[in-house]
């Protein structure tokens, strides 16, 4: 007897018991929904983070005193705080002595500033950076209007600024900002350029900043108690690891790190940051997996229960089928298919709801829409497995019924 017939019999039976079928598969729906929703959300968040990190630029890496992401306790945070600052001079020596890099940019940032003009003022959540001309290459940025900081500006300590689009929107809504003056911490700078808009990531703007020549920055904010951020672009993909090695070796000797001791600085790239994010979200995934496992187990037992009831209720039907020639195997497969269809329907509903919910939550956090294909496949496979595992016993019970006893059952 062909399987298609058995499938259509199973569908007919389920159609005749709509409410019961719905209630039974709701357990599966919840189990699959929870895992798919969480996986979708995590994947969406991850895609968002990765998108943000990719703006660091290709083949680039960064050197900093503090790690880019900290998940540790107070003890480990103290470890970083006690490190010696990375000074501008150390940066300059690194630039001289390192041999394997294409561009290197020494950068210094000050956060939580409000920018002003004579007429308007921004919120105090903008930041200022002192940078070198290589900043553009090392950070994958593009100038939209005007020009960027030059070596000349550095030599002359020019009081010039290149600003992000948020600054333009807040302070120069109706005028060409190039040539206008901007006031930061009571110092006045002439705007020479505007960056291309980057947009938001995770509810945070990427355009709320102004960059100055690093020498100008040091004149205004001082040279001491400041730790530089160094951005490096490797000559190419193949040389990336060698380039990192070269920079680490040279910087260790500059900072006097003793052999055998750990680096007194952090080095990170897109890849290493993505790895850290994955490391972190992993635990959420384990948690969601565990919860869903429990939910699916409970749902499976529910399905087994309903299938057992169904077998008892339909003893007569089974008797009739066997009396007119159904083989045990046909009855077994019929009931098994019914259980699997229940689980698969629940699974599909759970997957759809999960993806929709996960993405809605993700969109709320400005993450891109994703479909976790791997988890969709896993979900469907697990549902089939639940259907088979928990359907086999009731199906076997149905198949083993003696036709005459089953027929007599009232």
């Amino acid at each position: 007897m062909p399987v298609t017939e058995l499938i259509s019999i199973a569908f007919n039976t389920l159609r005749n018991n709509k409410i019961r079928a719905m209630l039974t598969l709701s357990g599966i729906v919840i189990g699959v929904f929870s895992i798919i929703a969480i996986m979708t959300l995590l994947n969406a968040l991850q895609a968002g983070i990765e998108g943000g990190l990719n703006s660091l630029g290709s083949n680039t890496f960064q050197v900093q005193k503090f790690p880019a992401m900290q998940f540790g306790d107070a003890h480990s945070r103290n470890k970083f705080r006690n490190r010696e600052d990375i000074t501008y001079d150390q940066g300059k020596r690194l630039k001289e002595k390192a041999t394997l890099y294409k561009y290197m940019s020494i950068e210094d940032y000050v956060y939580q500033k409000a920018f002003k003009t004579n007429k308007a003022k921004t919120n105090p959540n903008f930041y200022v950076g002192g940078v070198e001309p290589e900043y553009l290459e090392c950070n994958n940025k593009t100038i939209q209007f005007g020009r960027f900081i030059t070596q000349n500006d550095l030599i002359r300590n020019s009081k010039v600024a290149v600003i992000g689009m948020d600054v333009v929107e807040k302070l120069f809504p109706n005028v060409d900002p190039i040539g206008e003056d901007i006031i930061i911490d009571n110092s006045q700078y002439k705007v020479i350029g505007v960056f291309q808009k980057e947009g938001e990531g995770f509810g945070q703007s990427n355009d709320n900043f102004a960059l100055l020549p690093i020498t100008t920055m040091q004149q205004v904010y001082g040279k001491n108690n400041r730790s530089m951020n160094i951005a490096i672009q490797a000559p190419g993909k193949e040389e990336f690891n060698e380039s990192v090695e070269n920079v680490v070796t040279v910087l260790r000797s500059i900072r006097g790190d003793k052999p055998g001791e750990a680096d007194s600085f952090e080095i990170f790239s897109n890849e290493s940051l993505i790895g850290q994010v994955n490391n972190f979200t992993k635990y959420f995934k384990y948690g969601a997996g565990f919860i869903s496992f429990i939910a699916l187990l409970a749902a499976g037992i529910g399905i087994m229960n309903i299938m057992l009831v169904s077998v008892t209720e339909r003893t007569k039907e089974i008797g009739i089928r066997k009396a007119i020639g159904a083989k045990s195997q046909s009855v077994l497969i019929q009931f098994l298919i019914e259980a699997v269809i229940l689980c698969e329907l629940g699974g599909i509903i759970g997957i759809v709801l999960g993806i929709v919910t996960g993405n809605l939550l993700g969109m709320y956090l400005n993450s891109p829409v994703v479909i976790p294909y791997d988890w969709v496949v896993i979900g469907l496979v697990v549902c089939s497995a639940v259907g088979i595992v928990f359907g086999v016993y009731p199906a076997y019970k149905a198949a083993k019924l003696n036709p005459i006893d089953a027929l007599r059952y009232e």
Binding site: I320, R321, A323, I324, S328
Partner: protein
């Protein structure tokens, strides 16, 4: 070398219910040849249905042997028995035994599904079988939307749809009016003339008169086994022909 289609030897069926032991059949010997038309009669509770179930490979005797077409039925496995029930035997149950949730057409189609026929062929045959029992305008009715007699006719259509060589009918006219009952008997007679073997359980003498041989059962034993008038007439005719 015997060539009986059905050969029952010392068939006993015992039901044990707690401490009570009930002998439904107490040693039945019965040989039935191909193309016979037999009526089984007897009072209620005498074991007629029990015997029919055993002949129909639905039930197994407590002791005794049953040879069908020379093969020992008790040595067959479940799948072989299912195949015999599907292909060789058309069973009309005393209580109809229709699928309650399926319409008449699907009920009649069912044996053909398990036979593995393609859908179009199944529908065609099922429709024809329903037409033959006068239910062409009730195909989409479910059993609870049919009268008792109509249900019985669906059960008959289902038994005949697969063109089985043996037809077992347990009171097939019990719920039918005389006219419909006669029509069904006419149908069975035609099948018998085409070569099918027919065994029918009945209380009614008029119905039994259609058969060629009447077996009477009482208290689980065969009381009498005689040729009916019709059977005698037929064998006389045969003798004349020879």
């Amino acid at each position: 070398m015997e060539n009986n289609l059905i050969d029952l030897k010392g068939i006993e069926k015992v039901y044990i219910m707690g401490t009570e032991v009930l002998y439904a059949l107490k040693g039945v010997d019965l040989k039935i040849n191909k193309n016979e038309y037999i009526a089984i009669m007897g009072p209620s509770g005498s074991g007629k249905s029990t015997l029919m179930n055993i002949i129909g490979c639905l039930d197994t005797p407590t002791s005794g042997e049953y040879f069908l077409n020379g093969k020992n039925v008790s040595e067959m496995d479940d799948d072989e028995l299912a195949e015999i029930r599907n292909l060789e035997i058309g069973f009309v149950f005393q209580t109809f035994n229709l699928l309650a949730r399926s319409n008449a057409l699907h009920n009649v189609e069912l044996p053909l599904i398990y036979k593995g026929l393609p859908k179009a062929e199944r529908i065609e045959k099922a429709e024809e079988a329903l037409y033959n029992v006068g239910l062409e305008d009730r195909m989409t009715h479910k059993p609870n939307e049919l009268s008792g007699g109509q249900r019985q006719r669906v059960a008959i259509a289902r038994a005949l749809v697969n063109d089985p060589s043996i037809i077992l009918a347990d009171e097939p006219t019990g719920n039918l009016d005389t006219k419909t009952g006669q029509e069904i008997m006419q149908l069975l007679e035609e099948l018998n003339q085409k070569g099918n073997t027919i065994i029918i359980v009945t209380h009614e003498e008029e119905i039994a008169m259609h058969a060629h041989r009447v077996v009477k059962i009482r208290d689980g034993k065969i009381e009498s086994d005689v040729k009916s008038e019709k059977g005698r007439a037929m064998s006389e005719r045969k003798e004349i022909l020879i």
